[in-house]
Amino acid sequence: MSENKHFDFLSAIVLIVLAAAILIGSLSIGREAGEVWYLSPGLMPGVLGAALLLCSILQLVSSLKDGGAAVRWAETHAWAKATFFGNPVTVRMLVGVALMAVYTFVLMHFFSFWLASLLFMIALLLYLKAAKPVKALLFAGCAVGLIVLLFQAFFRVPLP
């Protein structure tokens, strides 16, 4: 049995829902556009939705071999428990992604590029314990300074 069968099972369910949404969306595009079927802008998305639905159903059937749905749910439950509760690697990854999200969606929105990048780099370096505070500040400062110099002065790219 593949050790990733619960991933196959979960992803197949998500993909079936997505394929259904694509099919409904393409039918609605076809109706609104009012063209003959072969000129419709909904044709290609519709074909892709149908193909995705077919492949996802095959994937679901394949994932149910060796145990069925009950076993897959149990595996998914066990995996979620082991991954999301008290696992330091997961916590590290989630906090890392959260810091990247804060940088992308919040810091870059409110601050200039150099300040946002400096804050982000220092925060991530310190969180990952990649360097001591002074070293992190120096590394981040030099890196951001070099990037600003290279892009704004050398490439003449207006940074955000």
Binding site: G25, L48, G49, V89, F105, L124, L128, I147
Partner: protein, 495 residues
């Protein structure tokens, strides 16, 4: 005429600024390729955005140099760490690490680097000879052929990159094709799946998707992967290295030709080229049992095979507008961004482009050979850098790379979203290469399907009346059936 273009390309390449850019880019590629977790695709994707404001020729030199450098750089960590810097060098580790473990790391790196250089140079000859041939075939293509070509690309890429479960590769490709449909429809400007968002109206830009798909998961993975143990470099005699290469000239040529052939197949990458070449050398060797225990032929075969894929992957870009591998897909996007239109008309619209690419590839291969041997002296230090120290900087570069395409923060957010998608795909073992190929080929598939149906008044019969279409249909059907065990069953029945 071709000779004139070659001379002009050499003149451009040897301009001081371009030479400097070639050296810097090759060095950057080597370092990126050397560091496990930073792939060739990511290196080119990053550089595509960063070279946006450079003169076209300089940008072209930079992109090709970083491609050659990063594919070759992966061998150093494969040999010293037993962790391939890029998937392309996975086969190199099989014999490289045992050789380094026996105190011959320097010798192994010399063999790998020289074989990489030779592989690239041989592939350049193939680019020069095969591209015009493939282009002349591609000129016969109509709308149906282009539609089937995009379908073929996604299906074969799905088959070969999915690690045994082709369904996952196909699903990934279909998702990519779907993403390409988002935005205003190219034929009637009808908004598709935009949900009223102005940012989505123009469609999702390719570069942020690429950076997200390939860069983001590697950054997240670096948060959890522990650092490996590095061996020390050992001195060796260059003459001994050259003698070994000379003794293995058959392996170099065979592996390079395998690499070029694998590179031509849409979406199939340098890793497959390296493994196939390694397997071919092992199966034809008189001492197959010595492979995996530090056999120099293994290193030479793997490295000349994977680097020859670089040229091979560029052939379908230039002749069909279809990339041969994931890094080549990024390269295609970069070519488009810099105003080139790779495809059947390239040879008539910009014939000099083929010769420029070949000269720049050759220059990059030679620069890579020299730099890699110099860099190998410092490899231990570079490989000793903490990835957690580099990754915040890499993410900042990902942000800039996505931003500079349109000077738009929307693209940066797109990069983040596709980064999460790329990470989830990686966790569930769905290959990212068919997804990227789907995004690239999606628009071609859509417009050509509808154009073909318009010409035939909605009939699909022309597919069965055109020879190239029939060939495509047969190959596509066989590719699909092969994944459902048809041939295995046929063989069993015969027995």
């Amino acid at each position: 005429m071709g000779f004139t273009y070659l001379i002009q390309a050499i003149q451009t390449a040897v301009q001081p600024l371009n030479l400097l850019i070639m050296l810097i880019s090759t060095f950057a590629g080597l370092v990126m390729g050397m560091l496990p977790g930073l792939s060739a695709t990511m290196a080119i994707a990053l550089l595509t955005g960063l070279t946006y404001n450079l003169p076209t020729q300089s940008a072209l030199i930079s992109l090709l140099a970083v491609y050659v450098g990063s594919i070759s750089g992966g061998c150093q960590s494969a040999i010293l760490l037993n962790i391939p810097g890029t998937p392309a060098s996975a086969a190199t580790a099989s014999d490289g690490f045992p050789l380094a473990s026996s105190g011959r790391g320097g010798y192994a790196i010399f063999l790998a680097t020289t074989a990489s250089c030779l592989g690239t140079l041989i592939s350049v000859i193939c680019v020069l000879t095969l591209t015009p041939l493939l282009t002349s075939i591609a000129l016969e293509f109509g709308a149906w052929e282009f539609f089937l070509l995009s379908l073929f690309g996604v299906i074969i890429c799905g088959n070969l990159t999915s690690g045994g479960n082709a369904l996952k590769g196909w699903i990934s490709g279909i998702l990519g094709l779907f993403v390409a449909q988002i935005g205003l429809d190219s034929m009637s400007s009808f908004p598709r799946f935009t949900f009223g968002n102005v940012g989505l109206m123009a469609g999702i830009q390719l570069i942020p998707i690429m950076i997200g798909l390939f860069g983001f998961p590697e950054i997240i993975n670096a948060f959890k992967v522990s650092e490996g143990k590095i061996l020390k470099m050992s001195p060796f005699r260059v003459k001994e290295g050259f003698v070994t290469i000379l003794k293995n000239w058959v392996a170099v040529i065979r592996s390079s030709l395998i690499g070029v052939s694998v590179g031509i197949i849409p979406g199939v990458g340098e890793d497959v080229g390296g493994w196939l070449s390694y397997w071919a050398s092992k199966s034809t060797s008189k001492e197959p049992e010595s492979f995996g225990k530090g056999n120099p032929t293994g290193i030479i075969s793997a490295e000349s095979g994977n680097n020859a894929c670089v040229g091979g992957a560029i052939i379908p870009i230039l002749s069909l507008g279809v990339p041969g591998s994931a890094p080549a897909a990024v390269l295609l996007a970069a070519f488009l961004m810099h105003g080139y239109r790779p495809g059947p008309l390239l040879m008539s619209e910009t014939p000099e482009f083929l010769y420029q690419v070949c000269i720049y590839l050759m220059g990059a291969a030679i620069a890579m050979w020299m730099l890699a041997l110099i860099v190998s002296r410092f490899s231990v230090r570079i490989l000793g850098l903490k990835k957690t120290l580099l990754m915040p900087l890499i993410y900042v570069l990902c942000v800039i790379g996505s931003y500079v395409i349109n000077y738009n923060m929307f693209d940066v957010r797109v990069m983040f979203v596709f980064g999460l998608i790329g990470f989830l795909l990686a966790v569930c073992k769905y290959p990212a290469a068919p997804f990227l190929l789907g995004v690239i080929l999606g628009s071609m598939a859509d417009s050509n399907l509808r154009r073909a149906l318009t010409i035939s008044d909605g009939s699909i019969l022309p597919i069965f009346q055109r020879p190239i279409c029939i060939a495509f249909v047969i190959v596509i059907v066989l590719l699909i059936l092969s994944q459902f065990g048809l041939f295995r069953r046929l063989r069993r029945n015969k027995a």
